[in-house]
């Protein structure tokens, strides 16, 4: 790797770390489980590295390693996003339900 690329990479890493800290510390505990499964799905981006290994090389063993990596990374991407959405759907629904409760006060 040439030094200029390396230095740029270190910049990207440092800025992403800073940005990640800022953004993620605002996530409420309520959503910590979906957060974990979402960041997991997002880090399934290593799929693109796996795709290159499985398809853009001429080594047979690289193909096999790449194939396994593509499979597990795809499970993370598809399963991770799917399950995150399922969880978030539950948090989204019936939010009015909670509000109407004080109205029932008189019945006691």
């Amino acid at each position: 790797m040439n030094p200029a690329v390396l230095i740029a990479s270190v910049y990207v890493f440092a800025l992403a770390a800073f940005l990640g800290y800022q953004v993620i510390s605002r996530v409420p505990p309520l959503l910590h489980t979906p957060l974990m499964s979402a960041t997991n799905a997002i880090s399934g981006i290593s799929l693109i590295g796996s795709l290159v290994l499985a398809g853009a090389t001429h080594s047979h063993i690289a193909h096999v390693l790449g194939f396994i990596a593509v499979t597990t990374a795809t499970i993370n991407v598809v399963g991770g996003f799917g399950i995150t959405d399922r969880m978030l759907k539950m948090f989204g629904k019936r939010k009015d339900e909670g509000k109407k409760l004080p109205a029932a006060e008189a019945s006691k």
């Binding site: 770390a17 799905a41 795709l51 690289a62 539950m90």
Partner: protein, 459 residues
């Protein structure tokens, strides 16, 4: 650079931006779902970009891998129950880390000898972290699923053996770093890292899983970021770093919620050494009948439910919601108090209750609800123990001294739903059970709650 390569790089940039926006959306339940659509779009763009721009020559392996992965992924997304979310997440940490490790091994086979020193360092780091996270997460998943006993597995000299394994692993890493032609060093490091992952997680008890899950999450992310350094790929660095930092922040939060350090969680083996430390508080636990409990609840002004992991094991989340709705229809204010480490992963209890249709506006964090207990008529503790143990606050000699707790003992009366008279998960005596305003209701949480609901209807 060819046109397709530019296109690929552009999709990576778009994906990076969308990922950050997605996590920003996570700051509120209302915007979270929209955020995730952005992340999905970003991911899709990056995959398409790669397939077009990366000069793919053989499609067979890719298509088969994508197909198998999608089928398993969709199956998981549709059918994994919310109670199994911790083991599913642990498994996905293992998958993510394995993908990173394998990409690293592939890179080593293809370009191992021609890499620069820095790239080789990143490669070693990636493979080492990826491998140990893979096996560590598999063990964690096994413990959470019950395939492996949740109790800490410990033996004499464990920390010394682990230290030796760690030194062998890092020693091989450094040797490979300095002498890339010695292939054996690389593969020894890989093998030992797999073993180290197992050794790292087996001494840790199930109650500490929220911390371990967060740590493994962090490792998996950092392994992906290291992949980005090896391949010189920025979107990998960004996504991996976001994942790594998210895991890191969560581990810090979880440790704070237990008042313990990460080293203590990893090497302390909590839950195995406790037996000697129990202080015999004496006193008697007062039992309450179902009808009396129902009466108390029905005529209360405000009730707070405090769910613990026992609620999840008893599958009682729907039963508690039904009881809560009955009480609400009588005009009782019902709230839920959620301790940060209730459950087996960060936020686990919120997800379980949300699945049972509890509106999230009724779920309160520890800091929000603690001042409210003094004006609460009845607190109902369901399968929780340590998180409501007043010893943590009052007894400086307690093993959990200093751990922030839900101060249910401040409420006018406390009803504790418990399976039996035995001690809780950590084996600690809980003075809450002996207090004069506490009464015990024994039995399976789910059926007790169902019976309570029936009794409330007849009040």
């Amino acid at each position: 650079m060819s046109l397709t390569s530019y296109f690929m790089e552009a999709t990576y940039l778009i994906a990076s931006i969308l990922f950050v926006l997605a996590l920003k959306g996570m700051s509120h339940p209302e915007t979270a779902r929209r955020g995730m659509f952005m992340a999905e779009a970003g991911m899709f763009a990056a995959i398409v970009g790669t397939l077009i721009g990366a000069h793919i020559v053989t499609w067979g392996w890719i298509l088969v891998g994508l197909t198998i992965g999608s089928i398993i992924g969709i199956w998981m997304a549709l059918f994994v129950p919310m109670t199994s979310m911790p083991q599913r997440t642990a498994l996905s940490h293992a998958f993510g880390a394995l993908a990173a490790a394998l990409v690293g091994v592939g890179e080593f086979i293809l370009h191992g000898t021609e890499m620069s020193v820095v790239t080789r360092g990143a490669l070693g780091f990636e493979v080492m972290l990826g491998a140990l996270t893979t096996t560590g997460s598999l063990i964690a998943a096994g413990k959470l699923h019950g395939t492996i006993p949740g109790k800490p597995i410990q033996f004499r000299g464990q920390n010394a053996i682990n230290l030796v394994i760690f030194l062998v692993m890092t020693g091989n890493f450094v040797y490979f770093w300095m002498h890339p032609s010695v292939i054996a060093a690389f593969y020894t490091m890989l093998g030992v890292a797999f073993v180290f992952g197992v050794m790292l997680v087996i001494p840790i008890g199930s109650a500490d899983m929220p911390v371990v899950m967060s740590l493994l999450n962090s490792y998996a992310g950092l392994a992906a970021a290291a992949t980005g350094f090896v391949l010189g790929n920025n979107v990998l660095i960004i996504a991996g770093t976001l994942d790594g930092f998210s895991g890191f922040i969560l581990s810090v939060l979880m440790c704070k919620a237990m008042n313990r350090s990460i080293t203590n969680v990893l090497f302390g083996g909590f839950g195995a050494v406790i037996a000697t430390a129990s202080t015999d508080t004496g006193g008697v636990m007062r039992e309450i009948s179902l009808d009396d409990a129902a009466m108390q609840l029905a005529f209360a002004n405000s009730v707070v439910f405090v769910p613990g992991y026992g609620l999840a094991t008893a599958q009682a989340q729907h039963a508690v919601r039904e009881l809560a709705e009955l009480l609400e229809s009588r005009g009782v204010t019902v709230r839920y108090a959620i301790h940060p480490v209730a459950g087996r992963m960060p936020g686990h209890m919120n997800v379980l209750l949300a699945e049972a249709n509890v509106p999230y506006s009724a779920l309160y964090e520890m800091e929000q609800i603690n001042p409210e207990f003094s004006s609460t008529d009845v607190s109902v503790v369901i399968g929780a123990n340590d998180v409501v143990n007043p010893d943590a606050r009052d007894n400086p000699n307690s093993l959990i001294a200093g751990m922030p707790i839900l101060e249910v003992d401040h409420s006018k009366s406390v009803i504790v739903l418990k399976r039996g008279q035995g001690r809780g998960f950590s084996g600690l005596e809980n003075p809450l059970f002996f207090k004069s305003n506490t009464s015990m209701l024994y039995g399976d949480a789910k059926s007790t709650l169902n019976h309570l609901a029936q009794a409330v209807q007849h009040v």
